[in-house]
Symmetry: C2
Subunit: 113 residues, 2 copies
Amino acid sequence: MTQSLVGGFEPPYYTAVFTAIRPDAPEGYAETAATLHALVRDIPGFLGYESAGTPGGIGITVAYFRDLEGLTAWQHHPEHLEAKRRGRAEWYDSYRVHIGKVERTYGFDRDRD
Amino acid sequence: MTQSLVGGFEPPYYTAVFTAIRPDAPEGYAETAATLHALVRDIPGFLGYESAGTPGGIGITVAYFRDLEGLTAWQHHPEHLEAKRRGRAEWYDSYRVHIGKVERTYGFDRDRD
């Protein structure tokens, strides 16, 4: 799988860490997730997101924003609010959101010949 | 699977978001991860961690600390430093670390009858 990690931004920037427990493929979830992933790209200051999910375990999504204004705009987006409402009603057993200001970042990339 | 999410802490607190791309089960990785997961519990101010990994995709680990002192102590722990050195030499194709101060948090738990 060819892919690359989100990152390389100059601090400060903001992360929304979303952790969740839910059934593996509840009805309507995948369609809503695809819609939201398309919509968030239009938010000013959106830098990217990453998701990982262990089958049968928890899921973690991290969304990166340049500033708190963009992150807040996304939190209040009508389709996002509706998805969260449906998520609480139908999909999630539990979730947590941690909104943080990133003060330091670093990384590593293996050299390729 | 019975499990619960990390959270419910009063801000401010700190998160280290670690995102990585690596082969699924490189030699020595699981043993080192288990050792580190035991050691980090002794760090003052350590609040918990969560990991999720999509098979064939990326892995995300979030570690939670009460303060930056605890987080920094863990970053400089000798066995953690050695694991990171080995990770760069042998395991990871790439990784990113984002260290943030959490300013706001909320969550949801489904009511159980």
